[in-house]
């Protein structure tokens, strides 16, 4: 009586198997196309990033740090960037940045319109809210499975999994930003005869910009976290270093790669936040 009775057991696993099977047989052309797009995008971005000399990278980070903060922060960020190169992880970093960048771009392209729709349409809001909640509590590993099934191993499923994992905060904060615009400001927009498009582009999006930037920041950080994990499905980059270190039990190498990831995360976070804050001058101060 202590054990869970067999006849009450029911697995939902076959359902997903069926769905994925169906998708694979019927939508393979679509996925081939997506693969092509992402692969090309990736190659392009990686090539462009590799084209930039390392010292210019460090300098850009330093200058942006100085612009948004002060010399101290600028030096810190510059040194961190420099350290990643010292660890012999520069090429891995470029690869990682490329995946993060593409994921963030795709997140923007998909997430912004979805967030806007969610703010405008009650139905969509009701459907998407629990979906976003579920996505944000779902263990990140789970996304690796459909990614592999749909795209095999390599960089494309890595971008796919990273994007799916990273997109919720952007959607949510776009939605929050737009629904949070001061009611009277919206009414003023209406009272002066704005069309819905004018409303969106002249009032709602600019007013929500600071919140959306926070979303971009969070999405970037989530992508950073996921890109490490997606090395398990064949993505290269710094995550791969960690994976190798774990397999070979090379503790020192693991920590070195770990620090590189932390440094990169800090650099991205500070620079994005700096950019968001510099926007605030004219945007957020509600009253």
């Amino acid at each position: 009586m202590l054990e869970y009775p067999d006849f009450l057991k029911f697995s939902i696993a076959p359902i997903f198997d069926v769905i994925v099977d169906w998708i694979l047989t019927n939508l393979s052309a679509l996925f081939d196309f997506i693969t092509l797009v992402i692969a090309n995008l990736f190659n392009g971005v990686e090539a462009a990033l590799s084209f930039v000399p390392w010292w210019l990278f460090v300098m850009i980070v330093f200058l942006l740090g100085k612009k948004y903060y002060d010399y101290k922060m600028a030096s810190l960020l510059g040194v961190m960037m420099f350290a990643i190169g010292m660890f012999d992880l520069w090429d891995s970093m470029i690869y990682t940045i490329a995946i993060v960048l593409i994921s963030v771009i795709v997140s923007l392209v998909v997430g912004l319109p979805v967030g806007i729709l969610m703010a405008k349409n009650e139905r969509i809001e009701q459907i998407l809210k629990p979906v976003l909640d579920a996505m944000q509590t779902m263990p990140s590993f789970v996304y690796l499975i459909p990614a592999v099934m749909l795209f095999g191993l390599g960089r494309v499923p890595a971008v796919f999994a990273t994007t799916i994992y990273a997109i919720p905060p952007l959607i949510r904060l776009t939605y929050l930003g737009i629904t949070g615009v001061d009611k009277e400001v919206i009414e003023a927009g209406k009272a002066y005869g704005s069309t819905p498009a004018q409303m969106l582009f002249k009032i709602e999006l600019p007013q929500a910009l600071a919140t959306i930037m926070t979303g971009v920041n969070q999405t970037t950080m989530m992508a950073m976290a996921m890109v490490v994990i997606s090395s398990m499905i064949g993505a290269e980059g710094i995550g791969e270093e960690v994976l190798i270190a774990i397999r070979r039990l090379e503790v020192g190498r693991g920590f070195q790669a770990g620090f590189a990831i932390v440094f990169l995360a800090i650099i991205l976070d500070r620079l994005l936040q700096g950019a968001a804050n510099s926007l605030e001058g004219g945007t957020v101060h509600a009253e």
Partner: protein
């Protein structure tokens, strides 16, 4: 006379907040004469406006006053259809606002009606200039023209030099000036102002009220002004509508509220109003029994005053411009031929649009009635001690 034609006509307006079946049920109860509380209890719909029926004349400043929650905003927002009335109609310049399609509604909002908001409703990401330009921008006025128009409006509200500032850099009063500039930049016929000064300090509020009164000389607009402050209502309004629970309790000229308040609610509402601060001279002045021109023979004037048992009379020129006064005493003892030689000018006339508060000290000093003139210095009436006292008691 075209001016006396109702410009905005509100007919039996009904606004109930609700949807679908509930709304129908609420309207049914409403028609059966249920109270707001009953309707809310049974249908959970809120009655915003109830049987509103009035008109507003062109160029008039019409004030809607009432406690918070009395339905003032609900009503004014029907004018530009931020609220859609659930019954009755609003006709502006012959056009039924409740029946406009999308395109006509945009036209109405872009060209005919502008609105000023209580918390200003400014766009924090735009400069003062860009805020004022907003209405012009959405209706597609070319860049150069709208700069010009916006700058004019900014100058009119006294914000010249602040064009490049952002709203968060301005004080409350200045923000509201931006709101007003944005409204008049559009050159609308009608200005809707929903408690525009309620968020401001009393001192700034008074200043803004004064400026609005002055502005009325420059811009010829029909203004619908909302406030919960009776003093403000009396100070600004040509006519006033007092609202309670969505209904208009009394509507009329300011003085009519004091002369015959409709009920105890109105009486209570105006009890705290300082009449000297809200009543204008023109609202209490009396007609002049007799006035003389400078060439009136002295004896004629004396006899006339004796006949009317008056001891003073005002003197005006042929066009009724105020010149001064003569006393019976002087007329009686003097040997001069005409009134002109006995003219005294130490009595300053009082502008008829001014509030009566300064009249008190003036009448204390003067031995005689104070002459009331219009802006062209034409004699329009007079006020004596007794009249003033009875007006403010």
């Amino acid at each position: 006379m075209p001016n006396e034609q109702p410009y905005i006509r509100v007919d039996n307006l009904q606004l109930i907040f609700g949807k679908g079946k509930r709304l129908q049920q609420a309207q049914h109860l409403y028609n059966d004469g249920a109270t707001n509380a009953e309707i809310r209890e049974q249908t959970r719909c809120t009655v915003g406006v109830r049987y509103a029926d009035f008109h507003i004349k062109k160029g008039e400043t019409f004030v809607i006053v009432g406690l918070s929650g009395s339905g003032k905003s609900s009503l004014i927002r029907c004018f530009n259809r931020l609220n859609k009335a659930t019954g009755g109609s609003i006709t502006i310049d012959g056009m039924d606002v409740t029946k406009l399609d999308k395109k006509e509604l945009l036209e109405l909002r872009r060209n005919k009606i502008s609105m000023v908001f209580q918390s200003f409703g400014l766009l924090s990401h735009r400069t003062v200039l860009a805020n004022v330009e907003y209405g012009l921008e959405v209706k597609g006025i070319p860049n150069k023209d709208r700069d010009e128009m916006a700058k004019q409006a900014i100058e009119l509200v006294g914000l010249k030099g602040w064009e490049t500032y952002y709203p968060h850099q301005l004080s409350g009063g200045m923000k509201q000036r931006v709101g007003l500039a944005r409204a008049i930049a559009n050159d609308p016929d009608i200005l809707l102002m929903d408690e525009p000064y309620s968020a401001l300090d009393p001192l700034i509020r008074r200043e803004m009220q004064k400026e609005l009164l002055n502005l009325e000389d420059y811009i010829d607009k029909t203004i619908v002004f909302i406030t919960h402050d009776m003093n403000e209502a009396f100070r600004l309004g040509d006519r006033i509508a007092l609202m309670k629970d969505g209904e208009i309790v009394q509507l009329g000229k300011p003085a009519s509220f004091f002369e015959n308040p409709a009920n105890d609610y109105v009486r209570d509402f105006i009890a705290d109003v300082d009449k000297t601060q809200v009543l204008r001279a023109k609202q209490i002045m009396k007609e002049i029994p007799v006035s003389f021109t400078p060439d009136t023979p002295r004896t004629d004037a004396r006899d006339k005053l004796a006949e009317l048992e008056l001891d003073v009379a005002f003197v005006t020129d042929e066009e009724n411009h105020y010149l001064g006064y003569v006393t019976f005493e002087d007329l009686d003892v003097s040997r001069k031929m005409t009134v002109e030689k006995l003219l005294k000018t130490d009595l300053e006339p009082y502008y008829r649009q001014n509030f009566i508060k300064d009249l008190i000290s003036l009448l204390d000093e003067a031995d005689y009635d104070v002459p009331i003139v219009d802006s062209k210095n034409r004699l329009r009436g007079s006020i004596c001690h007794e009249v003033l006292l009875s007006a403010i008691s």
